[in-house]
Each structure stands twice: as structure tokens, then as C-alpha cells.
Subunit: 160 residues, 2 copies
């Protein structure tokens, strides 16, 4: 279990470091990677490695929370690209000390519906947005809705 | 730790059942609920309870994966509303057998950027979408991108 949590932590850290040998070493050769938002699937470590090696832009990842048990894990992390920052999360399945499945999500900012203002407070956009305001307390700096309209994986931001 | 996992599981199950006493009993009186995508925060169990009680529509939640350790937890679940279905996830912080913080995410479908077709396969939208195609194997039915453009919490779908 501790080993699985370490797998999840090293997944993000080695991606950030572009340490491809270390990263690929965490994965089962038949790993399946899925992005449910775009209905995309990559089968196998070699293709998944190539996907990340080819992914364009000077992207960066910062771990926030990692949780794992004997079967499943999750890494909630912050991504940064082209001055934008936001949250994403990767869920893992483990077997025999390796990652056998990765499913990640790239949520986008949105405006809340009216009608709940009597219950809700809102914090200001992160500094990356036009206001330049500091994020409010209680959440790590730069982790909140930055005004960015596109997740790292989205087609809306990237032309490639 | 097992207790925390049970807290996370009961969080979703009691919400689905509208068992408000059971649900509120999982929460610390000073619980903080945050929705980073809309930069919304609710402070306190009473307001958070009211937020959910007042939330419009015949929404339903189905747990998919729950993971917890001594401090953190996550529930990855499926939501259903007005014929749409998609994934969401709630992260938890625990203390003294109660949930002290909830942060949830409501990712939306998007189209992938071009340039990675040589590595990626795509599955068809879930039956809720116009095609009526069955979801592919390897992912629970109805869990994948359904063609819906709006998360449960989004202002784009709801007029309230």
C-alpha cells in the first residue's frame, strides 16, 4: 500500500522531471491509459510513453494530494502551461507493484448558476488571470480557477 | 483508515438516498466545501446541508472508486441528471472520524487536439448521447464522455 502510494507519487514527479526511464519503469507493459473527457484510450507502455514525450509545450506538474490502497490510487496535481494553471487528477490501478491503468481528468473553470449566493462565497481568480489578485486562504496558491478556459489536454488551447 | 474510507463511501450513498441526517452526521460542524472550478466555497455543515437540499433537479450519484488514508480520501463517482451522465470526484480531509473538508470537480467532455491519432483510439459516446452507441469495454457503462457539455454544477445547463 505504501508502495502503491509511492508509485503514484513517482508517476507525477518523474513526468515533471522528464525522467522517461523512471516513469516507464512504473508502468505495466500492457498499461491502459484513458481520458474519459475526450473518450481517448492508449494501450501499452510504449505508446503511452511516446504520447507524453511528444506532448507539446513546456508543461509542468506539481503534486498536491496522493492517496493509494492495495488496488487503487489517485494523484491530485496542479498543471502549469503557458502561464495558465489549474487542477487535474489521475486515478491508478495497481498490480504486482506496477501501474496497470491510468484514468485522468482535466476540469475546466465555469461560472456558477445563480440562486445559491445566500450560501456561497467566491474567491478571486489566481494571479495568472487578468486581475492579478492573490488567491484566498485555505487553498494552495495558484491552485484555484485561474480564468483559463482550457485544460492541458484540451483542443481549445492547442493547435497541435 | 478503514473508517475514513467508509466515511467517503457513506458520503456518496447518503447523498444519493437524500438521507440528510446520515449525510450531515459524517461532517464536522465547521466543514469547508470548495468547488475550485467555480471558485465557490461554503463554510459550515448547516450551509452545506442546505446547499445540497436545495440543489435542483432529480440528480443521482453512483460510486465508482473510493480511496482513503488516515488524512485524505477521494470518491470518484458518476452523476446522472436530465438524461446526462458523467464522472465527478470529491476529495476529502478527515479528522477525528469526521469529514472536515470537501473539494469536488466536475470535468466536462472536450474534443482532443489533432496530432496524436497515431497513438490513440477513441470510444463512442455513451447511450445518453445522440448516437445511442454502447460504451466500449474496460470502463463501466455510462461512465464515459456522454456528449453532455455541462457538469452537474455548471451554470451552462441550469437556469436556477
Amino acid at each position: 500500500m505504501g508502495g502503491n502510494r509511492e508509485l503514484a507519487e513517482r508517476f507525477i514527479v518523474s513526468l515533471e522531471a522528464r525522467d522517461w526511464d523512471a516513469w516507464a519503469g512504473l508502468l505495466h507493459p500492457a498499461v491502459v491509459y484513458e481520458i474519459p473527457q475526450s473518450r481517448e484510450r492508449i494501450r501499452g507502455r510504449d505508446r503511452y510513453l511516446r504520447f507524453n514525450q511528444e506532448y507539446p509545450g513546456d508543461w509542468h506538474l506539481r503534486p498536491k494530494v496522493t492517496i493509494a490502497d492495495e488496488r487503487h490510487g489517485v494523484a491530485w496535481f496542479e498543471w502549469l502551461l503557458d502561464g495558465r494553471t489549474d487542477d487535474a487528477m489521475a486515478f491508478f490501478e495497481f498490480a504486482d507493484g506496477l501501474i496497470t491503468r491510468v484514468t485522468d481528468f482535466w476540469p475546466e473553470p465555469y461560472e456558477p448558476p445563480p440562486g445559491r449566493e445566500h450560501l456561497v462565497e467566491r474567491w478571486l481568480p489566481a494571479p495568472a488571470a487578468a486581475t492579478g489578485a492573490a488567491p484566498s486562504a485555505g487553498f494552495p496558491a495558484g491552485a484555484n480557477g485561474s480564468g483559463a478556459r482550457c485544460p492541458l489536454r484540451s483542443s481549445d488551447c492547442r493547435t497541435r
